[in-house]
């Protein structure tokens, strides 16, 4: 068997024996669970279209424009309006809990309506109530604008229709998928650095070299193992996501990108470990280096996260494909450079 494969198998076996790969998957599971929790939690707080219908906000309406405003408030599916003769009654109803919020709408001679809105303070409802108030008042603003249209020199555009898009949709593809794609690559680079640093520290690197293995062979074997596991983990995730009804647009391209990024990071990790044989320094240089590389890549016309998001959601551009090709080329070149550097450093 090729000696490089032997080294790769040895690395994978050590990962398996230490069960560390299980821990890696557990970390990713946690990240995924935590993101989906964040999705549900944040979205239901911040854009609670998701809870529409489950919870109806009752709004008290008072003031001289209430006859105008109340029907608009009532028109939304998740809110009902109760009209009050004067603001004091509305406030009393709010205090009693008959209404969740109240608004006092007064029309000025200029035609402008001023609304004083009151929402309950400091509870889970607050966000929901404010969002519903905002929706209602935006609708009302649009209606009033149309009524006063003859006073405007430019007309607002008609809004596209509403069809209840799922607010989780964008988040999954633009945040969760990129995280699940790049986290394994980052960890792979980190453990590649560890693996070499440990061999150097324990003196086993010398032993490996006494065996008929060149430094390049060792680097190849280790890299093979660590580059292979990142896309494998990502593939598991994507299959899992697809089962959950979130299919990926171009899975092969995304995995190719993950492999390319892992090749760069693993090469960098191994090179760093050979350069700075103490684990602490190697890890510091690697972490900051990877951070800087991701930061620099974010300034490209399409950042790596954006490339993954576009591929995953299925709207790639020419630039996206060029980025993938560029990443693959960079992966090969970066790894080759690391290998040459390793051979030179190890041979010296």
């Amino acid at each position: 068997m090729d000696s490089r494969l032997v080294v790769a198998r040895r690395e994978l076996a050590s990962l398996g024996r230490e069960k560390t790969i299980v821990l890696a998957l557990a970390i990713q599971l946690f990240v995924a669970a935590f993101s989906s929790f964040l999705v549900v939690g944040l979205v239901s707080l911040y854009a609670p279209g998701a809870t529409a219908g489950a919870y109806v906000v009752t709004v008290g309406v008072a003031g001289n424009a209430s006859g105008d405003l109340a029907p608009v408030v009532d028109a939304g599916g998740a809110r009902t309006a109760i009209e009050y003769e004067n603001p004091a009654l509305a406030r009393a109803a709010f205090e009693e809990g008959t209404v969740d919020a109240y608004v006092v709408a007064e029309r000025a001679p200029s035609g402008r309506t001023h609304v004083d809105a009151v929402a309950p303070e400091g509870s889970f409802e607050t966000t929901l109530v404010v969002t519903q108030l905002k929706d209602a008042l935006t609708d009302y603003e649009r209606q009033r604008r149309a009524e006063l249209a003859d006073r405007l020199d430019r007309q607002p555009l008609d809004l596209p229709p509403e069809r209840g898009g799922n607010p989780y949709f964008g988040f999954t593809y633009t945040v969760l998928v990129p995280v699940l794609a790049f986290l394994p690559a980052f960890i792979s680079g980190s453990i590649a650095a560890d693996s070499v640093a440990e061999e150097l520290d324990r003196g086993t690197f010398e032993l490996l070299r006494v065996a008929p293995l060149s430094v390049a062979d060792i680097v190849d074997g280790k890299a093979l193992a660590f580059v292979a596991i990142a896309p494998a983990q990502a593939a598991c995730w994507f299959a899992f996501l697809a089962l959950n009804g979130t299919p990926l647009g171009h899975p092969v391209a995304v995995l190719g990108l993950v492999a390319a990024v892992s090749a760069v990071l693993v090469g960098a990790g191994i090179a760093t470990a050979l350069l700075a044989p103490k684990r602490r320094e190697a890890q510091l240089v690697y972490s900051f280096g990877a951070l800087a590389a991701f930061g620099a890549a974010s300034l490209l016309p399409e950042s790596p996260q954006n490339v993954v998001a576009k591929l995953a959601i299925g709207s790639p551009t020419t630039v996206t494909w060029l980025s993938v090709a560029g990443a693959l080329a960079l992966g090969v070149a970066g790894y080759a450079a690391a290998r040459v550097a390793a051979a030179r450093a190890g041979g010296a």
């Binding site: 946690f30 929790f37 709010f94 303070e121 969002t131 949709f169 945040v175 960890i187 551009t317």
Partner: protein, 590 residues
Amino acid sequence: MSPRRTLRIARWEVTRGAGALDRRTAAVLAVVILSCAALAPALVASPPAPGEGVYRVSVAESSPYYAPVAADDQLRAVPPGSEAVAGGRAEVAVAGSAFRVADTEKGRAALADFRSAVAAYNDRRMALDDDPAAAFPVTVDLAYVERGTTPVADGTGGDTTTVADGGATTGMDTTSADATTSDTGRETTTDTAGAPATTLPDAGSGAGVRPTTPGGLSPPFPLESLVLAFAFLLPLNVVIQSYGSSVIDERIGRRGEPLLVSPASRGDIVAGKTLPYLCGAAAITAVIALGVGAGLSAVLAVLPLAGLFLGVTFLGALFARSYKELTFVTVAVSVGLTAYAFVPAVFTEVHPIAAISPLSVVVRDVRGDPVALGGFLLSTVPVGTAAAVCYALGTGVYREEDLFTQKRLPAKALDALAAPLSSVWRVGLWSALLIPFVLVAELFSVAVLFVVPGALAVPALLALVAVIEEGAKSLPAYAGFAGGRFERRDRIAVAVGVASGVGFFLGEKLLLLTRLVGLPDLTVGRAAFGSAELGVGSPALFLAPLALHVAAAVVAALGARRSWGWYAAGLSGAILLHVAYDYAVVVLLG
């Protein structure tokens, strides 16, 4: 412990860390850090937008809808064509004033985004109009009012607000948190994340008051403060990276052995090795606090969290068999603790659950809100004591026979738990000492489950609480038997179980902390912490939880006496017992 020795070891740790850095590595590290610093302004100027251009809208350049599409980040204009949507080249197609939308999830999401882009575009367009009253015919002032507060007479202080023209309702007590608007004396929502274009330049509806348009309303969400609070967590990851390496270095190649034979005690060594990193974390935290405009309370809140980051890393580095394993451990520590600190803090403005996270103190501090003592204690005491317990466990195994053996991570953890169990009653002590972890885990479960509907959340939480509590109670017992600290006899198992149950019961009184912030007012919070609350009235209710803890612990300990399989069975029995009891108390009586 001798302070002199501790300081000497600390000094040695610092000089060794700095001295071992050879010139080439130092140069590379400097270059890398400098390039990170150089990139930062560029990234702030054009922050990465992962969602850029993910939705395609087919629209002609001559169409009035072209401008809103071009201005929106997530939308991308593609050339029009008859079959753009059907051919899969776009999600939404604009033809004149008609819209064609792909009948997919993506199509609907794209349409929703398109709709809000057009609304934002309309607002920007209207801002240029000569007749502001017609362009923005509605202005809003939003006030947050606590229910049940009696109206305050007008003019008693700056925190009262008068509803315009609504003569009858004067003087509402606005206690909300938008510090930025306090100068107007009126609670105008200035949003942190929204479009500034929707704030009127000069509304002219009242002197000194700047109302917003409906588009400018935003639910209370402390986005900016959260981002600032997150800045406190990032450097901790670098610190634990370094710290973990230093601890594991003592073990690789038995390098730490000379230290152990020196007159310095284990406590001296551990404290000395940790001190520089804790001081470093404190210094970085203080610098960040200065930078983001937070004060002393933010630093004091982050320090216990830094301690926990270090404490768990310390344990991880003692247990890990190799550098690779340590990397996984440190990543797990970062992810787990970051989630624990960050997720609840998201709800700082809307929910008392946020008080469990030290970051909520930071968020409040950054926003200039008062930090209540109860909230401060709840967010820092469990985290701080958990850190202390980590160190107590780690110091217990900081000795030759444990440092230099290669065992699996769980086995090492059991050794660490078994080490301090010199007598049966100590099992009770350790059950009690594990309470901070129980508290942290339970609080986190509450935080995660509170978005789930109540009917589902309460049973799920009862089960989780039972698993967490019974696990924590029985682990020292199992470790004691597995580590050969106790004879494997039924009589001893019962004694161990009683000790563990009593210890846990006494420790559980710590949970009364949750009372200080009103957590039990929540349905979910009541389910988790109800059992600690009971017992104020009758002695029977006081003793019932004690009986439960003892009985369940004895069941688990009897299993732990035999083998791993029996332990699993005993633990399951204990969990079932616990769930049944909780169900009876919380659901039937409560």
